[in-house]
Each structure stands twice: as structure tokens, then as C-alpha cells.
């Protein structure tokens, strides 16, 4: 580790992994509720479990992004963090606010939580993924601004690289677009339209910038390739992200009461959204093939390549599957959406954070890479989680195709609940795959503590004869 203040990332990563475990525990609970309808009812209704599942995901990914930024920015900028104390302070504020919010979801009824937090003063609650009480949202803004200030000052007063500038653009976008979460008009159409300015412009816009820059950083470190080449790729990937993804927002506007032109614009531009993900895959493999050093951290290399592949499959392929308006007419709001959501979030954002953790955690713990046993276990956890996520996605896709047929496509459409009972087999299989994912995650955590034979240092790749 080059700079002492990078170490603050460790806190963020530990919190991220802890919340990740919580997210998956609620995930397997909800999976069971899909087939065992009154499991834990009425103590833990499905909507509460879901809110905890998705909110924990968002919060732990934010912890992961922040930790990644705190680790990579000093190294790229070649200076200590502008204010390490602020990074630590914000960590505790964010963790306590996040934990208090989750406890609020679990101990109070949601409407009581809304009353307690005076939602009436500025009603922002009760919209998907933005369920946090208004006061929590304000807290997120404060934390995001303090974080941005700290990272921004470090970048602007140090060496500026393409990696940090792209990261800074992505993080600024993250903070700016979150402000739309405070706009909640009575008009349902406008509410939905601008809700997507948070949700889409985050996950299909600025988060991709953050992801690409983190991946680029890790690849530079692991492979030792020429920075010039990485930077060129990085620019062109994020250019394609924004060129396709901004107007691609239109694929969410098809059925909420928008003008008809969105059917065309949304279809055409979002059909191009897989391109930047495909380029990311080419980029990652290209760079690893042209590596100039053999890094002893094999696990981090696996995660980096895995991210590129799984993001393309989950976000790119499974996104394209249902993004054309004539197809989406039938699939909108079915298990097809759920299938895509699971693999896209895992492949792009979960995996990129785990890539960064895999690369940086050993260094923060005083070694170039983890011991052999630890790496082997980590790679097993990679395969268990990744393969089970592929199966979760396939089973949900199977459920979704049947749902679309039975409920929407056939000549005698069945009611929602009748359809749900008919496709229960797929939900059982999804639950099994979910349990395997949980096992993979527990193995992942265990791998941090495994003892074994130490690995060597970084070696240069001999010139080809």
C-alpha cells in the first residue's frame, strides 16, 4: 500500500460484506415466501423483506463504491486522501443511518415509520428502491457530498488520471441524479418519469462509469499493461455507455403514459446498450492477454474477468432479451424483469466491488496476495455464487416465459395468482439456487480467515521469443 490513508477503505469493505450477507438472508427468505405464501406472515410481510433486500443491496454497493474510491484515488493521485478523518466520520454516519433505517423497516410498520419520520413534510417514501425515510435520504445527500468533496479535493490537487476523472464524473452523477428522489408529484406519470432519472441514470448510466474506472484500475495493477491503452478503452467504453444509455432511458417509458416516440427511441437506443458491456469484456480479456506481469493474486484476476463476462450477460444479453417495445409489451413487470435484475446487478456491480475487494484487501492486510488456500477458497466461492446466479436467472426466466404465456399471451389468459401457482416449480428451483449462492457467500467470508502457504511476489512476464 503506497499511502496510509488508503486504509480507510478496509472499514467500508467490511461493512459492505456484512450488509451483503444480510441482503442474501432476506433474499432467500423472500424466495421461500414465493412458494410458502404465509412464511413469517404477518411478522415479516413480503414487501418489508423485499425493501430490506433491495435497500441493503444499494447501501452495500455504495459502501463498496466509496471504499473503492478511497483506495484507488490516493494511489492514482499520488497523494494522501485530502481528509481521512472525514472519510472515517462519514463511514460511521452512513453505517448508523443505514442500520437505523433497516431496523425501522423491521420493527415498525412502514406507515408508522412514515409518520415517525414526518414523511408528510416532504413525502418521498413508498416508491420502489427509494423507500428510505426522507431524513435518511437527506443523510445520504450529506454523506455523498462530504465524500465527493473529499475525493474531489484529492483528485484535483494530485496527479489527474483518466481513471480518476471518469470515477469523479460517475460519482458526481450519482449525487446529482439522486436529487430527483426528492421530487414526488401527485401526478403518477410525472412521478414515474422522474423516478427513472434516479434509477435508470444510476444503474444504466453513471454507475457504469464508476464500474469501468474501478475495473480499469484493477486491471492496470494486475497486468501492468500500458496505461495509454487502458485509458483509450475506458474513454470509448463510457462514451458508448452514455451515447446508448441516456436516450435508452426510454425503454422504461413504454407503458406509463408517455408519447409514442419513446417506443422507437427506447427500443433502438437500449438495443445498443449491450455494446459498452461487450467492449468491457473485450477490454478485460485483451488486457489480461497482453499482461506484462504475473500477479500472484489469481483470485482478483478471476473476479475481474468474471465481472466483464457476467455484466455483459446480465445487463447486456438479458437486458436486450426484453428491451424491444413489442417484446416488452408482454414481458413488462414479469419474472423476466426479475431475472434480468438479478444477473445484471450481480454481474456488473456486486462483482466489480468484489473484484476491488479481492485486489485491495490483501494489500491493506500487509501482503501482495492472499495465501494459496485462501485464494482457492475464494475462487470456489466465485464459482458457487456465479453459477448459482446463472441458475437463479435461468429459473426466473423459465418462470417468466410461462407467466407471460399463461397470463398475457394465450387466448384465454389466467389470473395472476392462478398463474403463480402453476409456475411454482421454477420458484422452488430458484430457491435452491439461492441457497447455493448463500453457501458460496459464506465460503467467501471464510476465505478471508483461511491459513495456508504464502504466495510469491509480482513477476515480470518474460518477453516472447
Amino acid at each position: 500500500m503506497k499511502y496510509k490513508s488508503q486504509n480507510v477503505a478496509k472499514l467500508y469493505f467490511i461493512a459492505a460484506i456484512g450488509l451483503f450477507i444480510g441482503q442474501i438472508l432476506f433474499g432467500v427468505t423472500m424466495g421461500l415466501q414465493y412458494v410458502w405464501g404465509d412464511f413469517l406472515f404477518p411478522a415479516l410481510p413480503f414487501n418489508v423483506a423485499r425493501m430490506v433486500h433491495t435497500n441493503l443491496l444499494i447501501v452495500w454497493l455504495l459502501f463498496g463504491f466509496m471504499g473503492s474510491a478511497y483506495y484507488l484515488v490516493p494511489e492514482e493521485s499520488e497523494r494522501e486522501l485530502y481528509a481521512p478523518w472525514l472519510a472515517k466520520l462519514m463511514f460511521w454516519i452512513f453505517l448508523i443511518a443505514g442500520a437505523a433505517t433497516i431496523v425501522g423497516y423491521l420493527l415498525l410498520s412502514y406507515s408508522d415509520l412514515a409518520k415517525l419520520t414526518m414523511n408528510d413534510l416532504l413525502p418521498t417514501m413508498g416508491r420502489e428502491f427509494l423507500e428510505q425515510p426522507t431524513i435518511t435520504k437527506l443523510g445520504i445527500v450529506v454523506v455523498a457530498l462530504a465524500f465527493l468533496f473529499n475525493i474531489g479535493m484529492t483528485i484535483l490537487t494530485g496527479r489527474k488520471t483518466v481513471v480518476t476523472l471518469v470515477l469523479l464524473t460517475g460519482l458526481t452523477g450519482l449525487a446529482v441524479f439522486f436529487l430527483f428522489s426528492f421530487y414526488n408529484p401527485d401526478n403518477l406519470f410525472l412521478d414515474k418519469y422522474f423516478w427513472w432519472w434516479v434509477v435508470h441514470l444510476w444503474v444504466e448510466g453513471v454507475w457504469e462509469l464508476i464500474m469501468a474506472s474501478i475495473l480499469a484500475f484493477v486491471l492496470i495493477k494486475i497486468t501492468g499493461v500500458d496505461r495509454e491503452m487502458v485509458e483509450k478503452w475506458l474513454y470509448i467504453i463510457i462514451a458508448m455507455t452514455l451515447i446508448t444509455g441516456l436516450v435508452g432511458t426510454g425503454h422504461h417509458f413504454f407503458w406509463i403514459g408517455s408519447p409514442d416516440y419513446w417506443q422507437w427511441l427506447g427500443s433502438v437506443f437500449s438495443a445498443l446498450e449491450p455494446i459498452p458491456f461487450f467492449m468491457m469484456t473485450l477490454f478485460a480479456f485483451n488486457v489480461v492477454n497482453k499482461r506484462r506481469r504475473e500477479h500472484p493474486n489469481k483470485a482478483a484476476t478471476l473476479w475481474a474477468l468474471g465481472t466483464a463476462v457476467m455484466a455483459f450477460l446480465g445487463a447486456g444479453v438479458w437486458g436486450f432479451l426484453h428491451t424491444l417495445a413489442p417484446v416488452n409489451f408482454y414481458t413488462h413487470g414479469t419474472q423476466i424483469t426479475a431475472a434480468h435484475g438479478h444477473m445484471a446487478f450481480y454481474g456488473a456491480y456486486v462483482m466489480v466491488v468484489l473484484t476491488m475487494i479481492s485486489y485491495s484487501m490483501p494489500i491493506m492486510r500487509g501482503r501482495t496476495a492472499n495465501n494459496e488456500k485462501s485464494q482457492t477458497l475464494e475462487m470456489w466461492s466465485f464459482w458457487l455464487m456465479t453459477v448459482s446466479m446463472v441458475f437463479i436467472t435461468l429459473f426466473l426466466t423459465g418462470a417468466g416465459i410461462l407467466q407471460v404465456y399463461l397470463q398475457r399471451f394465450s387466448d384465454s389468459p389466467l389470473p395472476f395468482m392462478v398463474t403463480q401457482e402453476k409456475i411454482a416449480l421454477f420458484y422452488w428451483l430458484r430457491e435452491l439456487a439461492g441457497l447455493v449462492f448463500l453457501i458460496g457467500l459464506l465460503l467467501y467470508v471464510y476465505s478471508f480467515f483461511a491459513k495456508g502457504r504464502e504466495v510469491g511476489e509480482i513477476k515480470a512476464v518474460p518477453e516472447a521469443a
Binding site: 415466501q33 414465493y34 405464501g37 404465509d38 406472515f41 404477518p42 410481510p45 413480503f46 414487501n47 418489508v48 423485499r50 412502514y110 406507515s111 414523511n119 413525502p123 417514501m125 413508498g126 420502489e128 423507500e131 401527485d186 401526478n187 403518477l188 406519470f189 410525472l190 414515474k192 418519469y193 491503452m229 485509458e231 483509450k232 474513454y235 470509448i236 462514451a239 452514455l242 441516456l246 432511458t249 426510454g250 417509458f253 413504454f254 407503458w255 403514459g257 408517455s258 408519447p259 409514442d260 416516440y261 419513446w262 417506443q263 427511441l265 408482454y330 413488462h332 413487470g333 414479469t334 419474472q335 426479475a338 397470463q407 398475457r408 389468459p413 389470473p415 395472476f416 395468482m417 398463474t419
Partner: protein
Amino acid sequence: MRETFTKGMARNIYYGGAVFFFLLLVGLTVDTVISSPKRDNSENITEQVAAGKRLWEMNDCIGCHSLLGEGAYFAPELGNVYTRFGKSTDAIKGFIKSRPANGIPGRRSMPQFNFTDEELEALAQFLKYADGIKTARNWPPNIQG
């Protein structure tokens, strides 16, 4: 990538592309918002409807249901529930009111929210208003949502 394609060119595509397409999105958004009253049923947003939307939010209905296809997929689509229930707000109110507090053994069940009559009416009016939004191709595809 070839040497003829420089980093400077890549950077210009990024800045140029991002600015151009963001402005395009903003322009389209302006047009969408201006023309929105033609489709969004806003003439029927009464105080009661607004109160219904607040109740919809304060009870996290979106955590199980979808509304115009967005939300969770655990419970039925409600963007057309008014039509599905025979264009009767009484049927909607009756359904919400009659949910058993301890659920239905082995099955998914909506919680009992203990709404007052006034609240039930507001929620039903909100769902009726949502049903009135003119969606493209009259989505959802059929009455089952």
C-alpha cells in the same frame, strides 16, 4: 486498438457524445412533460386521489404489487385493477377490507391494514385515476394485468 485512433479522439467522442445525448434526453423530456396532460389523466387528480397516492406510498404497496408494470411481482398488477374489478370502487374497497389479519394458511395474502372508510375511498379513487392514464397500446395486454 490501432495507433491512428488516439486517446484524444476517444476522449472527444466521450465528451461530445455525452453532452449531445444528454441534451437530447432533456429536449425529449421537455416535450414529454408539456404534452403529458393529453395522456396522464391529471384532470382527475382530486385531493382524494392525492391522499390515496400518499396512502399507497405510506403502506409500501409497491413492495408486493406492480403499478403500470413497475414494482414487485409478488402480487397482481394494479394499473388496471379498477377495470378488472368491474369498474367498481366498492369491489376494490371490499377486497382490501376483507383481508384476514393472520393471512391464509400456506398462501400469499395481503396484510390487513385497518384503513378507515375515508382512507379506503381515497385508495380506491387513486387506483381508479391510475387506470385512467392513457398508456401506449392500452397496456397491460389484457384484463388479467
